[in-house]
Amino acid sequence: MSLKYESQLREPLVYGNKTYHQVTEDIIRPIEAKPSKLWYIGFYIAVALLLFGVYSIYRDVTYGIGQWNLNKTIGWGWDITNFVWWVGIGHAGTLISAILLLFRQGWRTGVNRAAEAMTIFAVMCAGQFPIWHMGRVWMAFFVMPYPNSRGPLWVNFNSPLLWDVFAISTYFTVSLLFWYSGLIPDLATVRDRAKTKLRKHLYGISSFGWTGSTKHWQRHESLSLVLAGLSTPLVLSVHTIVSFDFATSVIPGWHTTIFPPYFVAGAVFSGFAMVQSLMVIVRKVFGMEDYITMGHIEAMNKVIVLTGSIVGIAYLTELFMGWYSQSKYEGYTFWYSRANLFSPYGWSYWGMMACNVISPQIFWSRKMRRNLFVTFFMSVLVNVGMWFERFVIIVTSLYRDYLPSSWSVYYSPSVWEIGFYLGSFGLFFTCFFLFAKYMPVIAVAEIKYVLKISGESYKDDMANIEVKEAGEFAHEYAH
């Protein structure tokens, strides 16, 4: 046996001396059992929200997006705010599954499957907003470049809005492939345990006839690694391109070069917060405390405090540049429209500051990082803050532009605008509830692999060897 020295302080990734079979049992049992009352309540609420969203969209399509309280000045309001917010949330899943895989962070295995699922559902929600924002949604296919009878009149490849089309659709496709290819072996595990005919049939279809052959595993590993390598720059590019939607314009407060890194950090920040919210619930509801441990929660809180601080620095840099550039318009936007609490939208700026920059600093304390209640509360707060951030960027830059005659202050959303947003929550949670019920929320095969090198039983075995004196080793090898 080879010796692997590891700090005694590093906690095991899986608690409670599990065997491989126990891992299978623990993770797959919730799929085989009848859903709990709590699940039904949550699911019905989600479906109700979804239906309300569908009705809101029905009205938007029938009567036009005049249903929303947008006006000529504030042409991007809740809708694009929600789009950017959801895309940002999606980023954590790819970060956990791809970037942490490349960095060989073992703890990702506990949360990666659910986080990837979250990514897919969040991107689905995000995609709704620009699509329905088009108004005449039946012409949405005009954004695709294809030879057409209008010239052919092509799309503008120099426009960041078109880059977005490519970025978001690629991101969705690649995330879906990454997630599903990882899921195939686990679905095969569910299939082989299935008792009823229907389950055998359905999981048989969805597991693609996976056998677990060594050659297949070898290719699967290669595939995961390359997809991770591809997803890493992809995830950075997606939010970079989203930030280009703003940064390439000439609106004060938007055309700043800091946007790409600032948006990416913000995306990771809000995404991790969403993963925290979901994981705290999932581990409780499905009894996954041995797999999603306090170590996982703490590691994610560390990412939150790091990215929150990066975002904070970005805010301060913007304020500094608003003054240092000596541009009247920049100065007005940053120091009057935003940082002045008593300006019409000052509340949103300070709400953002409080939620995103000030409150996450609580996570410098280890005790707070490992407190479930604080974690959950903070995760919700961060997402509220990140929603404010996008609202601040979009609305406070638009409502007072270069032409005072077109200034508009009293922008408040209509019920259908809010309904659309609630509907996206409905879509997200409906998908997530179905996923949590019918698919393994934790990557079973990957946990089995981690169990061997970082499970509690392995750590216990290693501890005996590690505490031995060096002299004792020499003595043993002498024979």
């Binding site: 470049p145 880059w163 490519f166 690629t170 595990t189 290669s222």
Partner: protein, 195 residues
Amino acid sequence: MSKKKFVVGCFDTEDTLFPAVKKVRTAGYKIQDVYTPFAVHGLDGALGMRETSLHTAGFIYGITGTTTAISCISWIFTKDWPLDIGGKPHFALPAWIPIMFELTVLFAAVGMVLTFCYICQIAPFVKKHHFHPRATDDLFVMVIECTDKTNTQEAEAFLQSAGAIETKTEIAEEGWWIGRYDRDEVPFGEKIAVA
């Protein structure tokens, strides 16, 4: 597509599996495959498999994507419909980098996954013979392909001595067929009378 005879040995840990693989190969048996519940690192090497070239395929798909993007966009913007955007150059390469990058990733990912499914012969509705249902749970299932010379009892005894906790001899279809997992249909219409 043909039926073959196999000797199956099940192991419960990798610690016994690895030496067993070595012994079985040294003894001159032909290991058809080892079915494992998760990716056992180093097992492919122990079985004498070569490295997969899937990543090379990924690279080729990737550059196909890049080429597709640059050639399509430059043809559209310089030849087919040169749009005058504020008098800026028609061949605006820096502005095309985002789309070139996205298509590179898209082509590489989609191409690799399809290739993966093709070379592993996995797809919805595809069914294969599974030597042990616990191969996706907690057993490492080594399958030895029998030749004319193989004595199955001897092989089973050999596997047991190498640490297998369960052994059996099976005649099974090696390839895949279209089938359902809730039914025990026989591939390719060869019906076997059930008593």
